[in-house]
Amino acid sequence: MSMFDGLKYRRVFSPIHNLDPRVKFTYACIIFIVAILFWEFIPLLVLFVIQVPFVILARVRREWLRSMKGAAFLASVIFTVNFAVSFINSGYMITFVALEYALAMTFRFLVLVESFSIFFLTTSPDHLGLALEQTRVPYEFCFAFTTAVRFVPVLAEEAQTIMDAQKARGLELEKGNFLRRIRNYIPILIPLIVSAIRRSLELAEAMESRAWGVSKKRTNLYELKLHGSDYVLLTVTVVLLVAAIYVRLYLPVPRLAEIFDYFAH
């Protein structure tokens, strides 16, 4: 299991899925910027928590949890390293400052994973391609992107079939020393490459046959248009950014030590 599992798109219908991919991407980026603005734990925790309703609304809780679990290992590494460094720097003392800093860094990372996994979990690769197209990325690149996504499952299945075919001819992948093991993969890689080349030729032929390459301006079946809900999210995002900058510049941000002191007295 890895944190990338949480990035795999699954077709669901939800208000979040219907949002414009460009708006969602802006949202994810701004969340990231806000997260960088703070090195205190409390605002980062808030940033983490306020995104949870999005996950629930998008009905991708299971996938999101999986990506958070996947991120947990890296998060604990970040925590340990940061904490250990300040522990050593502060003369082998456990301080609130050290704890706060380590926690903040960890949550900054978690917020990042959270917001981008919301983006990828709720945006179909098709929409992503479309968003690229309408942000004036050359069509060839967008086409390459969606085609690559389209053929990933096909190639994975093909690799499995080739592996089965060669195992049926007595190939044992795990046999021998390191070098031998690498060589064992040759009978799998060659058919895979040959077939990918053949496939791309056939694809090119099919594309030509469907009028690929007409110089006239291309049109598109879909058009991305901002709807009411997109403006809502965009406004919320901008307000969040402005508020965060204001807080950063003019208001005191509560620290863990202060809260602890407050409750201790």
């Binding site: 594309m207 030509e208 079946l221 879909y222």
Partner: protein
């Protein structure tokens, strides 16, 4: 059925083609004439040049494959040698053997729209033509699915819809059912039969399995070693005792008819191409004896 044979939609004269760096020509001296609205079946053993001929119809040969093309070829009134494939694509739709390698998009409707998008057709018209093509081919319900989630038969219908949306004069299908199971194959043949009868689209179907397809055909072309060896009305062609038919694999009921004829049974009318036609002949014989 009366055919109004006025203007051929495909015509070739002494067409000979050699792939780049190939030792010998893949098609040799092919002269055929396909009328508008016909259902044409092209058959012949593997390597006889069927696929190569299909590639000439929309200009993949010579524009994509290069090589040397001699003779003349006119499709929908255009000289193929002078018009690039993307121009021919408006008149000739090609459907290939492997359904997997001719769908590029992540949803069915996006794939069906691909050609129209390339041609720069306005969005509203794309939408209406895509919906129309998906309904005729029976894939409207699948429009939001990804191609890899579909069965081979469904994928092949998407491929047909995607060329149909361009409203071509001719649809050329190169062994479209070889990866499908019998039921999936039957559905494909029914769809193209409908396109032919109801919309008057000329169909050129390349197929090994005459038993499944010959009953739909008005015109059959049999190739061998790059040459057209027999051509004409399927009822006439399959009635002949021509030895060259043996290698083609004629339908079993047609073979049965031929065997019985050789045994001295007197049949009336045309050679049967389907079990129904053969049953009719058997019934007639038994009745005349009563």
């Amino acid at each position: 059925m009366v055919k109004y044979a006025t203007m051929p939609v495909i015509e070739t004269r002494n067409l000979t083609y050699t792939y780049p760096e190939a030792a010998k020509a893949s098609i040799v001296d092919v002269s055929i004439r396909i009328e508008k609205g016909e259902f044409v079946l092209i058959t012949g053993p593997s390597g006889c040049g069927k696929t190569t001929l299909c590639r000439c119809f929309n200009g993949l040969i010579p524009h994509f494959y290069h090589g040397t093309l001699e003779g003349e070829i006119t499709v929908a009134g255009l000289n193929v040698k002078e018009h690039p494939t993307y121009e021919m694509a408006k008149y000739v739709g090609l459907v290939f053997q492997n359904p997997e390698n001719q769908l590029f998009a992540l949803s069915v409707e996006k794939d069906v729209a691909f050609g129209l998008e390339n041609l720069g057709v306005p969005r509203d018209e794309i939408r209406s033509r895509v919906d129309w093509a998906m309904k005729i081919t029976g894939i409207y319900e699948l429009r939001e699915r990804a191609p890899y989630e579909l069965s081979g038969g469904q994928q092949q219908r998407v491929a047909i819809a995607s060329v149909l949306a361009m409203k071509p004069d001719v649809i050329v299908l190169d062994e479209p059912t070889s990866f499908l199971d019998p039921l999936g194959a039957k559905k494909i043949f029914e769809v193209i039969h409908r396109l032919n009868r109801e919309l008057g689209i000329t169909i050129v179907l390349v197929e090994h399995r005459l038993d499944l397809t010959v009953k739909y055909a008005d015109h059959i072309i049999i190739m061998q070693d790059g040459k057209v060896i027999l051509e004409g009305d399927p009822h006439k062609i399959l009635d002949s005792e021509d030895m060259r038919l043996i290698g083609v694999g004629i339908p079993k009921v047609t073979r049965l008819y031929q065997l019985l004829k050789a045994d001295g049974v007197k049949f009336h009318g045309k050679v049967p191409l389907s079990p129904e036609e053969m049953a009719e002949k058997v019934r007639r014989i038994l009745k005349t004896h009563d």
